[in-house]
Symmetry: C2
Subunit: 514 residues, 2 copies
């Protein structure tokens, strides 16, 4: 048994059964080992950013770590941006980065690069295997690290000779260390803060969906305080039956009034809110300067335990239907394309359980608002602000949840970053519907420029924001990747295309000219 075989067996023995891969020569023995283990599902991505983004989406929807297979430092570089989003989403990802045979590294071969350096710039955990004999234990340690602290980026650098040389046996990943918990005094202090006037409870992460979301809402109800979440979150339950809460806005000038009356902010599993960017003359922080902040539980602590402790300490009441969003499906609008009308159509037609992957950027807010009372669904955001997250995350979400519809809302500028993921959707027959908001550019930058206090863009500057001359043809791009596509120019056309997409399985793309 060679090192690569022990690694594949270690993955399987440790409960990892999915690998998003873009292999090269240094990963050949790992790929060969897959032939003996079809139970490890290996999914080809035509660009490494597709692999890392898919592992992120997979974790967000399954809570399970997937492996990625990346080719030396440049391949890891291609994966970097979506590892950044995964890190900010607290997704556990196990990267296997191929490397030259250790004895070959003394020479200046073309692909030699700083594998450890680039890994350390984004990974929580990095290790280079020294020998084939240690590969299994190194892999197990990496898996443990990926599962630690609520989800981390763990990278194992695998010199080719450690993959092909003889090894002994696979290993099994140990469970990660127990998460830290707040003390009884800290719980008591947080409860006192929550009961003060101007209190608010801020949550994030796993408290935005499932059982923990219910616990968080019960705590806020017991304390009689608002329940707030950040704008860009890994995953949030929404629509009918979801607990009511307030989402912060992207724009700092909208968050300032939202936070103005909050004088006691309790952070529970959430980082301190900060502006997405700094702008001249604007504060970095949305809360008022005299707001008192109580940090009960950082995102890497034992969030579930903390929420249950708060529920118990408060003897928090159960939720009633008044605490939940009711189902309210709008009429399907006709007429010219508007973002509000698209949101209403989506709300009317998307099935229960839909996973919405939102990278619509400047087109997002109206769709988000219009789907508040849609059927129950999950909503995923670009947590790290690195565009190109949407299509890869949709791949991972669809692999994690094969029986749920995945709906990717995509700005055209951001979709272009990782459009190769369309091909993986076609190959794997993933049940993904992609809506491209073809507004012909990085429209958000026009807002950002104004927010920066800069003058209206002249010809040169506007040329850097607008994807015109030529315009992109998204139906052709989709067809090129093997994905059926339609272009729509009015709401009747959109409703027909979207209804058809919801009624069938498999990938399809709708280009909305707006």
């Amino acid at each position: 048994m060679n090192g690569a075989e022990t690694l594949v067996k270690t993955l399987l023995a440790s409960g990892i059964d999915t690998c998003f891969a873009n292999p090269g020569t240094s990963e050949m023995h790992f790929v060969t080992a897959l032939d003996a283990h079809p139970e490890l599902r290996c999914i080809l991505c035509l660009f490494e950013g597709g692999a890392s983004g898919a592992a992120d989406g997979y974790y967000r929807m399954s809570g399970k770590v997937a492996a990625t297979l990346l080719h030396l430092a440049p391949g890891f570089g291609n994966a970097f941006a979506n590892l950044h989003n995964a890190r900010k989403a607290q997704s556990g990802v196990f990267n296997i980065m191929g490397e030259h045979a250790s004895y070959h590294l003394q020479y200046e071969s073309p692909l030699k690069g700083d594998t450890a350096g680039i890994s350390q710039a984004i990974s929580h955990w990095t290790r280079t295997s020294e020998t084939a004999a240690t590969v299994a234990a190194d892999g197990a340690a990496a898996i443990t690290a990926a599962r630690a602290n609520g989800g981390q980026i763990a990278t194992l650098i695998l010199p080719a000779n450690t993959a092909w040389e003889d090894a002994v046996a696979p290993a099994v990943a140990a469970p990660p260390a127990a998460l830290r918990r707040p003390s009884a005094n800290q719980i008591a202090a947080a409860i006192r803060a929550l009961r003060l006037p101007g209190a608010a409870l801020m949550i994030d992460g796993t408290a935005l969906h499932g059982e923990l979301a219910t616990l968080a809402a019960r705590i806020a109800k017991a304390a009689g305080c608002p329940l707030i979440q950040p704008c860009l979150v890994a995953r949030m339950a929404r629509g009918a039956g979801a607990a009511r809460r307030t989402r912060m806005a992207y724009r700092i000038e909208e968050n300032l009034p939202l936070m103005a009356d909050i004088s006691n902010l309790v952070l529970c599993g959430a980082a301190r809110p900060a502006g997405f960017f700094a702008y001249p003359g604007m504060p970095s922080l949305p809360e008022s300067p005299d707001c008192r902040i109580t940090e009960l539980c950082t995102p890497t602590m034992d969030y579930a335990w903390t929420l249950r402790a708060l529920v118990d300490a408060l003897n928090a009441p159960h939720l009633t239907s008044d605490d939940l969003y009711p189902l309210h499906l709008p009429e399907i609008p006709h007429g010219p394309i508007t973002l509000d009308a698209i949101g209403q159509t989506i709300a009317a037609l998307m099935p229960a359980g839909t996973i919405v992957v939102d990278e619509a950027i400047s087109s997002s807010a109206p769709i988000f608002a219009a789907t508040t009372h849609a059927r129950a669904h999950d909503w995923l955001c670009v947590t790290g602000g690195a565009i190109g997250y949407g299509l890869p995350n949709a791949v991972g979400a669809a692999v994690a949840c094969p029986n749920r519809k995945v709906l990717a809302l995509q700005g055209d500028g951001s979709a272009m970053y990782t459009l190769q993921s369309l091909w993986t959707m076609a190959r794997e027959r993933l049940d993904t519907t992609i809506i491209i908001f073809a507004n012909k550019g990085y429209q958000i930058l026009h807002y950002e420029l104004a927010a920066m206090g800069a003058p209206k863009p002249g010809r040169n500057a506007a040329h850097m924001f607008d994807i015109i001359d030529p315009t992109l043809d998204w139906t052709a791009l989709a067809h090129g990747h093997g994905v059926p596509a339609t272009r729509v120019t009015d709401m009747t056309g959109f409703a027909a295309a979207f209804d058809a997409a919801m009624g069938e399985r498999g990938p399809r793309l709708i280009e909305v000219v707006c």
Copy 2:
């Protein structure tokens, strides 16, 4: 004048007039400053790997440093793979990496990342501007660094507030430090080595084109020894009128016999040759173990001076027509598609001065062989082995040389990495012809697997090499980006499409089904 304005003026005052950009919010003030300076040509790339690869191709063909504009750590990550190729090509590149305002970095905003860490994993020089007042001097220092040691990667991290706050004046980049030169004793020792039996002269870099290529050939002629170059080089002059020399192969098993009779290898501006990868049971180095290596001049030393010193010391004769490749244009073949026939057609039809950007990978060797006696042309390679270099490099080469035809030879798997560059070709009306060798996969990996001594791939492994189910439709992909395209299935069709492409200006793509 704000910091961004001083930086734009510093670029122009220092002779940099081209910027390949994918800007975001943190780069807004730089973009705005462009409005006042249309003489700085700013070219939009829809993915940062397109920007870094274009800067690489631009340097290879012009010898001039271009700037890139990248958006924080994830944007730099996207640029990383082609910066790796640029580094291996010894291309000078000046990266401007936007960063959060320095006072905003204390908070955990979504895009906060390890900007310095990822830069240091690939850049020779990294600096973060501390204040607006230092931006101009920092930019000038970065430009000097990019031009130092024969071409380097220099990265300036620009916190947003240093761009928008008041600054004083632009700066001008100082010339880089003088390059090191070998001693008279080293020159004499190299000449003795070159005159020994079994001697060979190995060259690279700027000695592969232009005046220095002539000097190198004169030295080898005077010494009566073979003239050898590495396989993957930044740029080499080829075709009629180019000096004869031997190119090493990609495969180590072809290089072993090539080097078997060489017992005295003199390295002049070339790194010690090493296998692209290590393979079980194969040596890392191509030369015989008792080959003596004399390193006269590293790639970062004064190459031009060294070559002239050798010519003078040897009193090297001028070249005659026997030392140069003659023009010999083949007939245009018909019949089924073969790589040999495609090479012959290219040789027959491509105009003098064509720049061939070769990322055909497994399809490359026959085209290379068939064009040996074509009209004079330059040939560029994937120096760092990081695929996705071709289309971006073609953009940069076409911007550098607007009056020359650029011919990109692309494997389909590698073209998929950075296909967004097609759009930039369309927007900038670049005179690029792209040939896609649609062999439906990473065919090189089938060779690599065998070279690794691994068994024939089973279904799972082959599924990771073959881009089938679905196949990519390259004419649709090109149309989607605004580039006219044709698919050809026989040699008559290829000759017609290629002849038309050579006769017109502007981008076009030919998909060769093979």
